[in-house]
């Protein structure tokens, strides 16, 4: 009888999906994701797309903050760099959407690597402030480089297309989002079990010790910033091509806070945690909105109390999770897995 999860060789230890339980649920999730667009309405598909963008951005930020230990308050700026790069390439230079996505990622990666340079000298709160500067610098550029960004007016973007097939609604765009989510999550999952991933974690745990062991801090810290920003750039490019418009106010400081909340609530240092965090931070407010609408319709005279109350509930949920499970939603998931791993004889 099975009484634990034993690994007998390195290959099984490094497997992406180490157990039958994990493989089953991943397969079930994939089936659900493939069936979902055929059963969901436009509203649900809109939410699904927004969750997808959040997942990519959150996984990117978790690689930097959760795995490498570098706190960044510039994530919204990097999302913005990707968004504007894609919008400008598509509308001004006639690039295809498909080519603009990797180029947007690369532009953000370059910006992220530049902003990451201070990480070699400063840590913690000081690094926070250094990265916060990027938020203001790029925010200023988005508004004032009018010849390129069209300033406050923003840029309208045509929907992506392959030949005569235009991805101009939530249902069609869902497939693009799903493709990039699977690619982004899959790459991150592989990255963290590679040499580079282990180097990231060594830097996070004790950078001096990591350097003594031969890990090049300059290379790996900047790589973490670049990869994280690449994810952010792809997120931004997808978001604005989905919304078909880009304006500077889409990349406010609050967006940084939301992404940090996603990785903290989901679980720092966990790819699946980023996914949980992104789903939680996007889906729960929507569910609360639907619930408040139902209550509001039943008691319209109470609208002024009920509608704002959903934000109180959302805040309370976040605080509750952090108090009762400081390691994030991923830890709850881990406990569920452990329970079923030895079920029915768990002890």
């Amino acid at each position: 009888m099975r009484s634990g999860d034993f690994k007998e060789n390195y290959i099984s230890d490094e497997a992406i999906f180490p157990s039958l339980f994990a493989r089953f649920w991943v397969a079930a999730l994939l089936v659900f994701l493939l069936v979902f667009p055929f059963i969901a309405n436009n509203h649900l598909l809109y939410i699904a797309n927004m969750i997808g963008f959040a997942v990519i951005g959150a996984v990117g930020l978790n690689l930097l903050t959760g795995f490498t230990g570098q706190i960044s308050l510039g994530h919204a700026a990097f999302i913005g760099v990707g968004a504007y790069t894609s919008a400008i390439l598509v509308t001004r230079y006639g690039f295809s959407f498909w080519l603009s996505i990797p180029l947007a990622g690369m532009a953000s990666a370059l910006a992220g690597a530049l902003i990451g340079i201070p990480s070699l000298r400063v840590k913690g709160l000081y690094l926070c402030i250094a990265t916060l500067a990027s938020q203001f610098i790029f925010g200023f550029i988005f508004v004032h480089w009018e010849s390129m960004t069209k300033g406050i007016t923003g840029i309208h973007i045509p929907p992506p297309a392959i030949g005569a097939l235009h991805f101009d609604n939530e249902r069609k765009f869902y497939w693009i989002t799903l493709f990039f989510v699977l690619l982004g999550v899959g790459y991150a999952r592989n990255l963290i079990r590679s040499k580079m991933g282990r180097a990231f974690m060594a830097v996070r745990d004790r950078d001096l010790a990591a350097e003594i062991m031969g890990i090049n801090l300059f290379r790996y810290k900047l790589s973490a910033f670049a990869i994280s920003s690449f994810y952010a750039g792809v997120t931004g490019a997808l978001l604005v091509n989905f919304l078909k418009v880009v304006v500077p106010e889409q990349f406010s400081f609050m967006v940084c806070i939301e992404y940090l909340a996603m990785v903290i609530v989901g679980g720092l240092g966990s790819v699946i945690g980023s996914v949980f965090g992104a789903v939680f931070m996007t889906l729960v407010p929507e569910v609360l909105s639907v619930l408040s609408d139902i209550v509001k319709e039943a008691a319209p005279e109470m609208a002024s109390l009920i509608v704002p109350f959903k934000q109180v509930v959302f805040g309370f949920l976040i605080v509750s999770f952090l108090i009762f499970e400081p390691r994030g939603l991923v830890e709850i998931w881990n406990r569920i897995k452990k329970f079923f791993l030895l079920w029915p004889f768990s002890y």
Binding site: N41, N42, H43, Y46, I47, M50, V143, G151, I152, T153, G154, H156, D168, N169, E170, L243, K244, V245, V247, P248, E249, Q250, P285, E286, S289, V290, S292, D293, E297, P300, A303, S304, V307, P308, K310, Q311
Partner: protein, 389 residues
């Protein structure tokens, strides 16, 4: 027997389908209000205004006898939340008319409204982009654009003091920057000199730099854009402390009771442009109607803001468009009919809430200049209604 049962079932099924079809034909408005978030001061009033007009319309017999339906959701003044709410409402209710919470939401949804949803649409915005029927015939503004409002102010200044020195004082937001470039050009044409441009955060309090800059540049008129109350009240008070004699002016969102309350004895220092009459202008029939309705239904409510008036006006136009489109072949369920009906509105009497309304390029380019009265803490009209070409 079997045939009878079959016929009865068929009749019920037919009536059921017809019932659904009839239910779908009801005139419906769906709105996303910024009920929470930093624009909630307008959203709460706007939600109430829309509900009031819908209830008034239904009490008066609805849209040519059909009950007008109204559903709304909170968009939190965030574009992604607002768009999600719009799509949720659309999926649930299939409205013929929709209302959005911001300029950003309008810009993001504009192309889809034109190509896919095809609903007559207005929003809490006076941005020019929402009043261009050649680009998007479905979007409209219930008043003048910010550029139009700047035009009213600049014409007023040019008449009062030709060649005056101006400062544009605006927030570093889309809302703040919208009319600035056009304002510079208009000022030049009117022979006014824009000698300073000051930028501040919404709600900013440390304003000595901007005020001293205006003093150094001998500014005579300062026009605010993109703020609701602060920093306007702080700028007015601090500039008086510095012994400056600038006249302060502003556009729609700041020409509001809240600002006069904050200014107190300095209320007379502020002059603003608004497209609507105020709740306390008792001599106007539509205002009397709103006052009576409010007193009857919401006895605790003492005042209705200009945000209320703006959404009230939009909803009146929605109702009128529904009524006109209903008489066209295809009725109001045909999107083009609603657009045609809306654009056909000419000299429509709104009981003094605005002068008789004529739609021009999907907006109503009309404004009036009001000055704060320090003794009553109310706005007094100091110009007639100004129509802009």
């Amino acid at each position: 027997m079997k045939k009878t049962v079959f016929c009865v079932i068929s009749v019920f099924l037919f009536l059921g389908i017809m019932g659904v079809a009839i239910a779908e034909q009801l005139p419906t408005i769906c709105a996303v209000h910024p009920y929470t978030g930093r624009f909630a001061f307008a959203g709460i009033e706007g939600a109430a205004a829309m509900q009031d007009v819908v209830d008034m319309t239904n009490e008066a017999g609805g849209i040519n006898g059909k009950k007008l339906q109204y559903f709304w959701a909170d968009g939190e003044y965030k574009d992604d939340v607002g768009i999600a709410a719009f799509k949720r409402l659309y999926a649930q209710h299939k409205p013929q008319i929709t209302f959005g919470q911001s300029t950003g939401m309008t810009k993001a949804l504009g192309p889809e409204i034109k190509d896919r949803y095809k609903t007559l649409y207005s929003a809490y915005t006076f941005a020019e982009e929402a009043a261009n029927p050649k680009v998007n015939p479905y979007l409209f503004l219930p008043g003048p654009t910010y550029v139009d409002q700047f035009g009213v102010i600049l014409k007023y200044i040019a008449k009062e003091k030709p060649g005056a020195n101006l400062a544009f004082f605006y927030s570093d937001t889309e809302f703040g920057r919208e009319p600035i470039a056009a304002g510079r050009e208009m000022a030049k044409k009117l022979g006014l000199k824009v000698v300073a441009e000051e930028i501040s955060q919404v709600g900013g309090v440390d304003l000595a730099t901007q005020i001293l800059d205006m003093k150094a540049k001998k500014v005579e008129y300062c026009i605010f854009q993109g703020f609701v109350s602060n920093p306007i009240a702080s700028v007015v008070k601090q500039s008086k402390d510095y012994g400056m004699n600038i006249k302060f002016m502003g556009t729609f969102w700041s020409t509001e009771q809240q600002l006069l309350n904050e200014l107190g004895p300095l209320a007379g220092e502020y002059t603003g442009v608004s497209a609507y009459s105020f709740y306390y202008q008792n001599d106007l029939p539509e205002i009397k109607k709103i006052q009576a309705w409010t007193k009857n239904k919401f006895p605790k409510v003492q005042y209705r803001s200009q945000s209320y008036m703006a959404v009230y006006m939009s909803t009146l136009l929605f109702v009128e468009s529904f009524k006109r489109a209903d008489k066209m072949p295809g009725g109001f369920n045909k999107p083009e009919n609603l657009v045609k009906a809306f654009q056909s509105i000419k000299n429509f009497d709104v009981g003094g809430l605005m002068p008789p309304v004529t739609i021009n390029d999907n907006s109503i380019p009309v404004g009036r200049v009001y000055r704060g009265n320090p003794s009553t803490l109310k706005f007094d009209p100091i110009s007639d209604w100004v129509r802009l070409e």
